[in-house]
């Protein structure tokens, strides 16, 4: 009998302290396999996402906006998708885009993304869009650009004097643009643009960011300083649907959902093994019933369809 009890305890302990490589493999499969299914999932837009969309949608064609693309290859999965969606929306609306970045390591990928989208939509450099490139200085550059954009960027990324670019006619500072769009991966990013530009010069501003940054910018949306906020790949996918340009974000939703549910399963499993190893039977039963019931219901809902 002791052998059987210790055997049971032994396998519970082993499960509680399972090799993390098993967890890595499970998570990897949960994310990779759904990418090959071709399924898609829809999500209702939340108000911050709708406001972000409306802020661009209501601008008349020909309006000049400034996009601060503050991201680098590390955030490519979320923010390249976001940048493509924002640029597609802007170019479809006939908006004219002035783009720049505060991240030195992102200067090339931002340029590549901008060029790729612009050329695919038949836009002309210098007329419909311009890339001012990277300028070191962070907050100093931000507030200087809000005072005197041409002083901060006397030449664009290609080395052309800005005075020769038609898109920058009438643009002396960021106060002359209709909207500041922040595509942000961290610091410097949305928060700094709010502090240095939006707050001081009342420039209308919206932001699209990675998931981990969204909670930090939520207070600025709640206070009205950000007129719209899209945070995380799920909301980026929703935004893609709103503009009718489903891209990587939409395709990745099944994988992201699957990954999240695997994460939930791991949390529940961890707690179940914890409860069993501590002989907290009631807790273990509650977790098993609640968790099992939830996942069963999930399967039923998936099979039932929308």
């Amino acid at each position: 009998m002791n052998g059987r009890v210790s055997g049971r305890e032994g396998w519970i302990r082993r499960l509680e302290q399972v090799d993390r490589r098993v967890i890595f493999v499970l998570m990897g499969l949960a994310i990779i396999l759904p990418l090959y299914t071709g399924w898609s999932l829809q999500q209702t837009p939340t108000k911050p996402v709708q406001d972000f969309h409306a802020a661009l949608e209501t601008l008349p064609p020909g309006t000049k906006i400034f996009i601060a693309d503050d991201w680098d290859p590390g955030s490519k999965a979320e923010l390249e998708t976001a940048a493509v969606a924002v640029l597609t929306h802007c170019f479809r609306r006939g908006l004219r885009v002035i783009d720049a970045t505060q991240w030195g390591t992102g200067a090339i990928i931002v340029n590549d993304t901008l060029e790729r989208v612009a050329r695919s939509m038949g836009k002309t450099y210098g007329e419909d869009y311009v890339y001012l490139g990277f300028k070191e200085g962070r907050e100093v550059v931000m507030q200087a650009a809000a005072e005197n954009l041409r002083g901060v960027y006397p030449r664009d990324y290609r080395g052309t004097p800005v005075a020769k670019l038609p898109i920058l006619e009438g643009i002396g500072s960021l106060r002359d643009v209709a909207l500041l769009v922040s595509v942000s991966a961290g610091y410097p990013g949305t928060k700094e643009w709010v502090q240095q530009v939006q707050r001081r010069f009342n420039v209308p501003m919206i932001a699209i960011c990675n998931g981990v940054s969204e909670p930090e910018y939520q207070p600025y949306y709640n206070s009205g300083q950000l007129r719209g906020l899209v945070g995380g790949l799920a909301n980026i996918a929703v935004y893609e649907r709103l503009i009718g340009a489903e891209g990587f974000g939409t395709r990745a939703m099944v994988a992201q959902s699957s990954g999240h549910y695997m994460l939930a399963a791991l949390i529940l499993a961890g707690n179940l093994f914890f409860a069993l190893s501590r002989r907290r039977t009631l807790l273990a039963v509650a977790i098993a019933v609640a968790g099992g019931g939830f996942f069963l219901w999930t399967i039923v809902r998936i099979l039932a369809g929308p």
Binding site: I23, I108, D112, R116, G159, H260, I267, G270, L283
Partner: protein, 235 residues
């Protein structure tokens, strides 16, 4: 004087940038003929850009010393120096076409601009960036998905009431914050929005206020010379 001059400069420029918040930039520009604030902003950009020179100098100092003394891991230092040299040569000095440009044509550059224009579409520099740097950075960031899964498995244990609250809230947001959540229960989007916009924003706002006050107080002390630790050594 070694400490007094930096303290004075800190006070001068710190006060200037704080006072810029309370000055109308356009009026100031008119009153000073454009000297303020544009000239100061230009100086700051130049000074900040010089930090790159100092940064490269420091990198060279540390890694050259490691290679010269054959210290533990000197091979990695040699690789670092080789990478630094390659990127600087191809990025700043030498332009070599590799691949195709955006318009589908072979990469090219205007005649006479081959020197000091390394960073062009289709250049070797850009190839290093696209083929080496971008995948490496993306991969490292992607590791977070695996780290969070192993952390979640071991850390979200219901050991106490607060831990249970943390676990339940985390579970709700994890399952409700993705499109599948709405398929499972139509109320998930509203619930997760409420948690994000009301509950967590309240906590975040409090921390934001506290951190901002900390930043302001430290800034004030540095400008006024009360805080001198940035100069190194004892105040």
């Amino acid at each position: 004087m070694r400490r007094e001059i930096p303290l004075f400069l800190t006070f001068l420029f710190g006060t200037f940038f704080v006072s810029m918040n309370f000055l109308q930039g356009d009026r100031l520009r008119e009153a000073t003929g454009g000297f303020l604030p544009d000239q100061i902003n230009d100086w700051m950009s130049i000074i900040i850009s010089f930090t790159y020179v100092l940064g490269v100098g420091n990198v060279l100092r540390i890694h050259v010393k490691k290679v010269a003394r054959r210290e533990n891991g000197w091979g990695y230092s040699a690789a670092t120096l080789a990478g630094l040299a390659a990127m600087m040569i191809y990025g700043l000095i030498l332009w070599i076409p590799l691949g195709i440009a955006f318009d589908g044509q072979p990469a090219s550059v205007e005649p006479g601009r081959e020197w000091m224009t390394g960073m062009q579409t289709g250049s070797v520099f850009n190839w290093f960036y696209d083929a080496v740097y971008t995948p490496m950075q993306s991969t490292m960031y992607a590791l977070l998905a695996f780290f969070i899964s192993s952390a979640a498995f071991r850390a979200f244990r219901v050991r106490s009431f607060q831990a249970a609250l943390l676990a339940v809230t985390a579970l709700l947001l994890i399952v409700g914050g993705v499109p599948l959540g709405e398929t499972v229960w139509s109320g998930f989007p509203e619930l997760t929005s409420w948690v994000m916009e009301i509950l967590q924003t309240a906590g975040k706002r409090a921390i934001l206020i506290g951190a901002a006050l900390g930043a302001i107080s430290t800034g004030v002390k540095i400008i006024l010379g009360v805080e001198k630790s940035y100069l190194g050594g004892r105040a």
